[in-house]
């Protein structure tokens, strides 16, 4: 199950469970999200992404989104009026989106001595060739889309669930991909915190370098 789907069903479970378990412990119905472990060491993506960036990005930024979604959910559960709940939706979307996006991101990166940078094969490779001519054609379009983000945001390679077509989508801030329409295959974080300590204002170099650590195996699994 995708993270977004699991988030949805957990939220649904939590609200159903609240009436069932009302006599039990109140904390038992609350879903507490946790920071997932990185599937590699902080320094494993060097020299393309520095160990310092990875450590702060995972331990501080992602952790803040996890804390934020847990906190917002707690307040949402305690809110008594619809107006109070509506006021919390922006926080839930921001921190929940941050948690979803970063969880996908870590998994679609990999050290170069493992799967990082090894080009896709099979059906995904064919779909990329059919859409953009070849992998370099896709990377060029994706890098243009990433460079064009005006502010914080993400770039994604996605598969349309109804047409199976691939496309490039950018999302502002921590807005997650709409998973009722798309399956996110590869996400690239274009927030300044994702590259600034190493690349400063030269974000084009970060976008060029990150292809060396993209885990196409993960993308193939998401595509299948």
């Amino acid at each position: 199950m995708s993270l977004a789907a699991s988030t949805r069903s957990t939220l649904a479970r939590a609200s159903k469970a609240s009436s069932i378990r009302a006599l039990g412990s109140l904390t038992a119905v609350r879903t507490n999200y946790t920071l997932p472990d990185l599937p590699y060491d902080f320094g494993a993506l060097e020299p393309h992404i520095s160990g310092q960036i990875m450590e702060i990005h995972h331990q501080k930024h992602h952790k803040t989104y996890v804390n934020g979604i847990n906190d917002a959910q707690e307040k949402f559960a305690a809110a008594s009026s619809p107006a109070e709940k509506v006021a919390l939706t922006s926080l839930i979307k921001f921190h929940g989106g941050g948690h979803i996006n970063h969880s996908l991101f870590w998994e679609n990166l990999s050290p170069t001595n493992k799967d990082g940078g090894a080009p896709p094969s099979g059906a995904l490779a064919k779909a990329i060739d059919d859409t953009w001519g070849n992998l370099d054609g896709f990377k060029g379009q994706m890098n243009t889309a990433l460079a064009g983000i005006q502010g914080s945001g993400w770039g994604w390679l996605v598969k349309d669930k109804s047409t199976n077509k691939l496309s490039i989508v950018t999302m502002p801030n921590q807005d997650p991909i709409n998973t009722s329409q798309y399956i996110p295959l590869v996400g690239i974080d274009a927030w300044e915190h994702a590259y600034y300590l190493q690349y400063q204002n030269v974000k084009a170099d970060y976008f060029k370098a990150i292809w060396n650590v993209i885990n196409w195996k993960t993308a193939e699994k998401r595509f299948a």
């Binding site: 502010g151 921590q174 300044e192 600034y196 300590l197 204002n201």
Partner: protein, 202 residues
């Protein structure tokens, strides 16, 4: 021939705001980030038929306006301008609107820390003459009809090399280097009409 915009000189040295904002941040922020907004604004103006011209002018023109105000609304902490006594009229209005300077500061800090993504926090004068705290996203400028008294850049490039993810410390420290003398003159209407032609294009 359309007007060409230029990068304004900083009114102080890159290291003049230390220890609150490092010289490295100031140099990159001014000579790279702001310079890029200026260059891309000029590029967009000179290619009016490109598909994304309007969005490029909006974003880069906003970046140019916002940063131009920001540099001037900062001052070295040791300067008399960085003392709130340099803004007697504005301080009265802040007390009247927010209760006290402390309450204003807390409310401003909360607004800055609540920005979800890149953006700016501003003290503005509204059309009715009252003060307000607002945030704008990305490089959006303050709304037409309002005047920015001062702004704080909350893009990560404004603080990350020094404060990393600790943006609350950046927000706390920036109060040491607000140019209150300049804020006072803006409150008294000196900024009226600035960037009039560029604003009309955004």
């Amino acid at each position: 021939m359309a007007e060409t915009y230029t990068l304004p000189a900083l009114p102080y040295a890159y290291d003049a705001l230390e220890p609150y904002i490092s010289a490295q941040i100031m140099e990159l922020h001014h000579s790279k980030h702001h310079a890029t907004y200026v260059a891309n604004l000029n590029k967009a103006i000179s290619s009016p038929k490109a598909a994304n011209t309007q969005s490029m002018i909006h974003f880069n023109g906003g970046g140019h306006i916002n940063h131009s105000i920001f540099w001037k609304n900062l001052a070295p902490a040791s300067s008399e301008d960085a003392n709130t006594t340099s803004a007697p009229t504005l301080m009265q209005a802040i007390d009247a609107e927010f209760g006290s300077f402390g309450d204003f500061r807390s409310k401003f800090n909360a607004a800055l820390l609540g920005i979800q993504g890149s953006g700016w926090g501003w003290l503005i004068v509204k059309e009715d003459g009252n003060l307000d705290i607002i945030t704008t996203r990305d490089q959006d400028t303050v709304p037409a009809g309002t005047t920015a008294i001062f702004g704080v850049d909350m893009w990560e490039h404004a603080y990350y090399l020094q404060y990393l993810n600790g943006k609350a410390a950046y927000v706390e420290n920036i109060w040491n280097i607000i140019n209150w003398k300049y804020a006072e003159t803006r409150y008294k209407g000196e900024a009226d009409g600035e960037f009039k032609d560029l604003r009309a294009m955004l």
